[in-house]
């Protein structure tokens, strides 16, 4: 037996009030930690996909839509632009490298992207099995796609028009799977990649079929650009937006704008969570304070056994700290389950792996906060115990 064990026994002796305190704190800590984790997960994911892309050029429209569709592949494209105009921009001396993208078709909901082979370098794609595409209608398949749809090298994929499964299918032409990609933790995992020629070809065939006007000029959907010098990020996009009928968008601007948009909601929720933590502190204080009255004879008795004032104060502080640290740990577990749950819901747009679940620096702050709350809540009860007049308590009964 020692003071620490005694504290634990005392906590279990009044399980309900201990439970309420722990649950409140766990809820507050859990919400904050969940928000922190999701924020860091999404930010990581978004920034991971942004690496190497300074600017995106596409058709006029919403810049955010352009970024979401061409970088993250989660929105519809703003439209198409002419190949010549894109080529002009990519030949500009400020441009370091550029990748032309064509998209607009899907296979069972996963996008088919016609791209230059440089896309592989951008996302550090590694071929796991098979080879790169060399002729039209050959495709490489991202890891999420083949895992989910159980696609193997050599399979034929009949794609459909548009970005949803319900689109009209290109039944006359099919793509041949020539390679599977390693998971790269980027957006490439959920894409099916092919050469630009395949996409041009399938659509001109498609147009013929419907007897629409023939397209002389080739078109692309968007172009990803990396500058020679980061300085150009200020001047060049404005030039394009003002002087051409193309749109240039800077992903890092748009994403930080997006974060600001839903940042307000996160902030409100965070304040709410802090409020819950403060309430849990009060609950802890009231819990300890009440138990002081219930247990005053008991504590006077422990003093008559020869225990010092310090030992009794320590018992109270231990009780408080055990409860807050338990609340913190349960809150953290709760947030981890929350992250797993949310990421399973968002499987398609967020890559989730266990490495990203680590303890964030902010969570060490939460631990500090929990300990602080434990100390503050137990301060007054501990001082009361310290100043307790045992003779009077024993004589009063």
């Amino acid at each position: 037996m020692n003071i620490f064990k005694l504290s634990i026994k005392n906590i279990f002796n009044k399980p309900l009030s201990s439970l309420i305190t722990v649950a409140l704190l766990a809820l507050g800590i859990g919400i904050i930690s969940l928000l922190l984790q999701l924020n860091s997960l999404i930010k990581n994911q978004m920034e991971n996909n942004l690496r190497g892309i300074d600017m995106v050029v596409g058709a006029k429209g919403s810049p955010l839509q352009l970024i979401l569709s061409s970088v993250y592949h989660i929105d519809s494209p703003t439209g198409n632009i002419s190949f010549e105009e894109a080529e002009e921009i990519s030949n500009n001396k400020m441009v370091g490298s550029s990748i032309k993208l064509l998209y607009g078709d899907n296979y069972k909901g996963f996008r088919i992207v016609g791209a230059e082979k440089k896309l592989m370098e951008l996302y550090k794609g590694v071929i796991k099995q098979g080879k790169e595409w060399n002729s039209p209608y050959e495709v490489l398949v991202g890891s999420k796609v083949y895992e989910k749809l159980n696609i193997k090298v050599g399979d034929d994929l009949v794609t459909s028009h548009g970005l949803r499964e319900t689109g009209q299918s290109h039944s006359d032409k099919s793509f041949k799977v020539v390679g599977l990609l390693e998971s790269s933790n980027s957006v490439m995992d959920q894409l099916i990649i092919t050469s630009p020629e395949s996409v041009w070809d399938i659509h001109s065939a498609h147009d013929h079929e419907e007897d629409k006007h023939e397209e002389e000029n080739k078109e692309i959907t968007a172009m990803l650009i990396k500058f020679k010098s980061p300085m150009n990020i200020i001047r060049f996009p404005r030039q394009i937006n003002e002087n051409t009928n193309l749109q240039a968008a800077v992903p890092s601007y748009e994403i930080s704008r997006l974060f600001k948009l839903f940042g307000f909601g996160i902030e409100t929720l965070t304040y709410l969570a802090y409020l819950i933590i403060i309430v849990s502190g009060f609950s802890l204080f009231i819990n300890l304070f009440n138990s002081m009255n219930d247990r005053k004879y008991e504590m006077a008795f422990i003093r008559t056994l020869g225990a010092s004032r310090f030992q009794l104060s320590r018992m109270i502080i231990f009780e408080s700290l055990i409860l807050t640290i338990a609340g913190f740990v349960i809150g953290l577990l709760f947030s981890r389950f929350g992250v797993m749950f949310v990421s399973s819901l968002m499987d398609e747009s967020i890559n989730y792996n266990l490495d990203t679940i680590r303890i964030l620096n902010e969570e060490y702050w939460l631990l500090g906060l929990s300990i602080l709350i434990g100390l503050i809540s137990s301060l007054i009860p501990a001082i009361q115990v310290y100043k307790m007049n045992i003779s009077k308590i024993l004589a009063d009964e």
Partner: protein, 207 residues
Amino acid sequence: MIKTKEIKFNYDNQVFFKFHDINLESGENLLIIGNSGIGKTTLLHLLSGLLKSNSGSIELFGKELTKLSSFQLDIFRRDNIGIVFQKPHFVNSLTVKENLELAQYIANKKDNKRIENILKNLNIFDKLNKKTNQLSQGEKQRVSIALAIVNSPKLILADEPTSSLDDENCSNVIKLLKKQATDFGAQLIVITHDSRLKKHFKKSIEL
């Protein structure tokens, strides 16, 4: 040796107590008898160092209690004194055994054998792992005695141990206390208003 001289005590300058001197050789037990309101509990608290007297001297086993700090009094009480209360006190979240272990822990001791011996001697060994609120009144009193003697005190102070008991139980409890004191080599001072106890003590004083 227990020796007090002209102890005086007052609560907030309102209630004044003046106590008879006590002179007890080692091995002697003492009955202190007096009506309620006469300061019996105050005297017990003074002797156990829970209260400090305003004047006079209290010498226990060669130590002058009035000269000790409250921290030193805690240690002195821990090492030398066991108290049996009128109404037994325990730590309710602990079992009988854990209560006794806690008492030993406070005195920096650990001796399960002794806990077993004491409980066997008091005939409550089967209650070892019971929570204290599962015990009958009589069992509670025995556990309370066990707690008072578990750290081998030189002095056992008992505050009204028999006040609510019938004649038969009164006689049993006092015999038990005396036996425990003798068995474990402690002196016994009982403070009470219960005149039935007079016949059990050779030495008694009236307040």
